[in-house]
């Protein structure tokens, strides 16, 4: 398994930090992409940050009231080695489905 760290992004234009209000996930939890992770407050607004990816939460940084600088680690995920860092989603193999049936009289001339 590989660990992927997600740093606090710039949530506005040129913001340098944010204050953690409440964590919505905890270490050990399996999260989905876009699932709300944490509520933070900046000098502009309070926002919920969606998860950039699916994975198991290994560590979270900062408790309620703590300031985190933009670019510093916010959360660390554990993901399978062969999907660490990928852009996009690993496709699932599905049994082939069809709606179209072929009909033809094959003249074998």
């Amino acid at each position: 398994m590989a660990e992927i760290s997600f740093p606090l992004p710039d949530l506005g234009e040129g913001l340098i930090e944010a204050t953690v209000l409440e964590w919505l996930v905890s270490p050990g939890e399996q999260v989905e992409r876009n699932q709300p992770l944490v509520e933070v407050e900046t000098t502009k607004s309070a926002v919920e940050l969606p998860s950039p990816q699916a994975g198991k939460v290994v560590r979270i940084h900062g408790g309620p009231g703590d300031k985190i600088n933009v670019g510093e680690p916010l959360i660390v995920f554990e993901v399978p080695d062969n999907t660490a860092g990928i852009v996009g989603t690993v496709p699932t193999e599905e049994a082939p489905k069809r709606r179209v049936r072929l009909s033809a009289v094959l003249d074998e001339d």
Binding site: G85, I86, V87, P91, E93, V100, L102, S103, L106
Partner: protein
Amino acid sequence: MSNSILESGTTNEPASTTVMSMQQALNRALDEVLAENRKAVVFGEDCGRLGGVFRITDGLQAKHGAQRVFDTPLAESGILGLSVGLAMAGFHPIPEVQFDGFAYPAINQIVCQIARMNYRSRGTMPMPITLRVPSFGGIRAPEHHGESLEALFAHVPGLKVVSPSNPHEAYHLLKYAATRPDPVIFMEPKSRYWQKAEVDIARHEADGGAPTGAKIMREGRHLTLVAWGAMVSRCLQVAELAAEDGIDVEVLDLRWLKPIDAAALAASVRKTRRAVVVHEAPLTSGLGAEVAQLITQHCFDTLKAPVERVTGFDVPYPSGDLEDEYIPNIDRILFGIQRVLEYKRG
């Protein structure tokens, strides 16, 4: 040129056969190329420390050193420009452009330098560069991460273009491409990276030859499906479904998109007398047009219907949510087959 894969998958499995994903097959091929050729160097965005966003270069920097497997700045023109200089200095660069759509900023280096340096220098400056490009769609990625550039590259004199369809092909085609004296655009079907299949490490082809030309992946009598990359496995699924309806479909994996194995195309369609070509790229001026023309030229007298094309649409590659509407699906390919089957002359 074309040899059936059927016989290698049925009886007397040689001891060298092992099951792996395309990721693992490509990683192993690169590892072996680096070990066998001291002039080989592997580089690109995130290729070194991270091991590539798709793990294709995983562990190679630790094993072969940061001078031979290294990270580059986020600048494709620089990655390919560096490749030109390294090749001029006698190296065998194996650069990676992280995604298909990121090749555009390096078109100048690819078309104006890499493709023609050998010609321009009257053979004194060959460009033995293997450019790996994770290609095509199917992974719900953002813009510029799902494009099919084969026609663009195939149109440029001096470039060779190849795309593997499964782990076995990936392993052997990459090892073969890396020994070529000419630049090869190596298009990896990223949606197939994780699917596992048997790889016969010791043997390229059933007859032991080099992996050149096209390859029949399934034999059939009534119609030839021509495909490459990720569309080959989809066409194999379609062939199984068509068999339920009594239609015996042959699937030809083109593999090399430049040069195209016209002899194998002609041999297959002379037998089946019907052909459908399938690709993810947009229809207009796609490689399917070239394939259709080659079939028409070589098989005009025996064809029972015009060659059909089942392709992506003439639109920018859509966002992930619409991907399944864009990439040829099973029903669209079956419709293409049906149009050919029911064609009437005159």
